[in-house]
């Protein structure tokens, strides 16, 4: 039986499996065939082991039963997978095979999800385009000349290209939401501390969370149900405050949205702005009330982020020293070995951030940079707290632009960083945000970002489902439809 996996939601795939329309092995094979057909061009997977995937699927066919058992998934290659290479998109981890699964992967396995492989990313999740992968850029299924966004660009591209029904990404400053927006998908960045980071190769510990990337809001909710759990292996994780619910679309009567209009005045592409304004009208048509809110410190988020994230990264990446695993470049003494190994193993963007972070934490600069950035972070958190005193959720574009051409921003780090202007403050505040497709601009997807207070995932998913239903967005890129 030929299964058409293009545009197939995980929810529908689960129904097919439970209804006996296909086996998990047949479904997995359909995705493996799709990967073989299109991933040569998109380059969204770093590692696929067809034999292993088929064996896992057969095991689910034999065991079966659980609601999601046998549904395939793709994992960002920042997530540790026991016995399966995990590179974090870096040469320094080439050939590294973890001895344990990340908690989220373990729970995926427990739910019966079948891994199709590991997806491409900016090296150590540092980037907004997936161009900073040591293994080459991923292309946007909507336009192969453009980036899929990043750093979870591989996870976005596999879902948009029909090479997986859904995927897990990580979000440190927008790395789930921005690629979801660029690829016409739904992406959820959960409340800090509601999903375990154990086994997630660390970039910036205080900012990052794992979250779902999917074709629909309901799929995102289903995957969030799997991964949002308490754990004893991440001291900062306490799980969700309430069980995650799968939403039904409905009206928005009684909902108040805040719109930080001052943030929208500069740097937002016209088409993106037009789509955003249209969503504001949709919100009103569905019964919601719109009020202006101010986030007076949000504009400093970019600067604060680019001190705090590199500071944490500079320490997190110190363990890649050639002593115990990964790349080692031999040299006459240990210090020279460190230097040669790290010079050969890290890409330019990673080196840039290690240097920024090391500088920001150095004696004499620590207070002026690191401590000051933490103060700004506190102010941004308070801005959001104050806003949520008046509104249920805040609306912003996910990114100020549509997907940009490959290479367009590689030589201009500040322009690259600026693409995360609307997403970074959310990570600094530790609160959740959902990106849902917001229609096309010049044939390319845009995203609507719905930001809520801590542990408001159920609210965000319900609001997202309402917008999704009104937009009636088709998440299958025309080019991908033709390729099938």
């Amino acid at each position: 039986m030929a299964i058409d996996v293009i545009g197939l939601t995980a929810e529908r795939a689960a129904a097919m499996l439970r209804g006996g329309e296909c086996t998990a092995e047949e479904l997995a094979q359909a995705y493996l065939d799709r990967i073989a057909a299109v991933d040569g061009e998109i380059h969204s997977y770093l590692h696929v082991d067809a034999e292993r995937t088929r064996a896992d699927a057969r095991a689910q066919d034999a065991a079966g039963g659980d609601p999601l058992a046998g549904v395939p998934i793709a994992y960002k290659d920042l997530l540790s997978t026991r016995g399966v290479p995990t590179t974090a998109g870096s040469r320094i981890l080439e050939g590294f095979v973890p001895i344990e699964d990340a908690d989220v992967v373990r729970w995926g396995n427990e739910a019966g999800l079948v891994s199709l492989g590991k997806t491409n990313l900016d090296e150590f999740a540092m980037g907004s385009s997936t161009e900073h992968s040591a293994y080459g850029p991923t292309r946007n299924p909507w336009d192969p000349a453009r980036v899929p966004g990043g750093s979870s660009g591989g996870s976005a591209a596999v879902v948009a290209a029909g090479c997986a029904p859904w995927a897990l990404g990580t979000d440190t400053g927008g790395s789930i939401r921005q690629p979801a927006a660029f690829c016409g998908l739904v992406g959820l960045m959960p409340t800090y501390g509601s999903v375990s980071r154990f086994g997630v190769v660390a970039f910036a510990c205080s900012l990052e969370q794992v979250g779902p990337m999917a074709l629909t809001v309901r799929d995102a909710a289903l995957l969030q149900q799997v991964i949002a759990r308490d754990t004893d292996r991440d001291a900062t994780c306490t799980g969700p405050r309430a069980p995650i619910e799968v939403p039904e679309p409905g009206r928005l009567d009684g909902v108040t949205f805040g719109v930080p209009r001052a943030e929208l005045e500069e740097g937002v592409e016209e088409g993106v702005r037009a789509r955003f304004d249209e969503s504001l009208r949709i919100a009103e048509a569905l019964g919601a009330r719109l009020v202006d809110v101010e986030l007076p410190h949000a504009r400093h988020g970019l600067a604060a982020y680019y001190v705090i994230a590199p500071a944490e990264a500079s320490a997190n990446l110190s363990r890649f020293d050639g002593v115990r695993y990964g790349l080692r470049v031999d040299a006459p003494d240990v210090r020279a070995m460190y230097e040669a190994t790290r010079d050969a193993g890290f890409g330019a963007e990673v080196k840039r951030r290690i240097m920024i972070g090391t500088y920001a934490l150095s004696a004499g600069y620590h207070d002026a940079y690191y401590v000051q950035a933490q103060r700004v972070r506190t102010l941004i958190r308070r801005d959001f707290d104050a806003a949520f005193g008046d509104v249920d959720a805040i609306l912003l574009p996910t990114a100020p632009t549509v997907a940009f051409p490959i290479g367009a921003r590689l030589d201009d780090p500040l322009a690259m960083y600026a693409n995360d202007i609307f997403t970074l403050p959310v990570n600094l505040a530790g609160i959740p945000a959902l990106s849902v497709p917001n229609g096309l601009s010049e044939g390319l997807p845009t995203g609507l970002q719905i930001i809520g207070p801590a542990h408001s995932e159920n609210l965000l998913l319900r609001l997202g489902a309402a917008f999704e239903a009104e937009h009636g967005f088709d998440p299958v890129p025309p080019a991908m439809r033709r390729a099938s």
Partner: protein, 489 residues
Amino acid sequence: MSGAWQRDGYEAVIGLEIHVQLATASKMFCGCPNRYGDEPNTNVCMVCLAHPGALPVANAEAVRQSARVGLALGCRIPDASEFSRKQYFYPDSPKAYQISQYDQPLCAEGSFHVPGEGAFTVRITRAHLEEDAAKMIHAGGDAGRIQGSAGSVVDFNRAGTPLLEIVTEPDIRSPEQARRFLTLLRATVVAIGASDCDMEKGSLRADANVSIRPIGSEEYGTKTELKNMNSFRFLERGIEAELERQLALVRAGEAVRQETLHFDPATGGLTSLRSKEEAHDYRYFPEPDLLPVTQDQDGLAALAGQLPELPVARFARLTGIGLPEATALLLATEPELAAYFDDLAARIGDPKVAANWVLGELQAHLNADGLTADASPVTPERLAGLVALVVDGTINQTSAKEVFQALVEDTAATAAAVVEERDLGQVGGADELGAIVDEVLAAHPEEVEAFRGGREQVIGFLVGQCMKASGGRADAKALQGLLRERLSA
């Protein structure tokens, strides 16, 4: 202050940094066994090998034990403390940062009194919790050191061992005080049960910050740091050597350079490890993977109430019941010996007699057999049986030593049975002793004459002869009494 090191108008100023490995079942931030002496790299996991994605989870028992030590050192235990990352690259540091504590330590501002002659008090700056590094072994180097070694290997079993670093104010004024302070501190931590504090195994390590200054000066001189002196004797000798070195420099009109030094006990020499200019910038920042450690003051009060008797209190108690200071201090700093003493003293009802036995026969046997008091086959119960036979006059001191040895060798024997079996019962009856005395006096007319002529010391010889005749079983005091009686008759 007595016991101070003072030379040529200069005095010593010493502060200690003490690392104590906590004896918890598991490591500080992972579930690996915290065990010394296992096959290298067997007690390791993703966390203590710093694999990508590994996260630390703080060991609650290590936090509790640290708080207990802090309470025993009179520290304030703040409501909240924080872990920080201390960054440096070295193969013994798998993450290239050590999770330690920086400006918010677990224990703050304590004070520790060292009693006895020349008593002194040392303020505790702080005690903070951190993880130990892995162990580097430099193959082919001199005594495992890096100089001259062909290559190095790393054993990560030790990586992540809970480590409590106790930092003192520079209140110590002599090498001897440093040793006394560390001895009592060790006894305190051992009494609490937080660590075995075995310097040979490295579960207690001390660094010393040493400087000199003109007597009477309030300012501190430039200090040097002496690393890792691994015995009480080396600590004392190392500080002594460094004080002399600094004094020689100052006398020669040269400045002391701020540097870190290694003391070589074999040569008594000091070698520089690094100068101030080479000092690390550790780039501390709060550990984002861990939440602050919070303390509940009621819980801490309960914890303080549950502490065992500490050496300082024990010293006061033992001097209070009449033991000499030196004896009390010895017992106060040897927890196993002290427990043995308490047990024995309770059984025989005389602390002085108990102390004599514990610090005499018992300690000689423990030293000879390499045992601690709690492991001796001669339990307090068995020894009490022996002491009772001495006290009631059944046997004399000489026989008692023989019986003690028998108790060591035959763990099933009782003192009474040994005395019975070997016929060691004291020749005690006045008739029996009188006959012996008469016999000896008759055999030594010259000595008798001498005694009567005023050479009283001859009595010792005569007692010895009587003792010999009794087969060593007579009571020496009784013999002397009888002799004097007969000679003055």
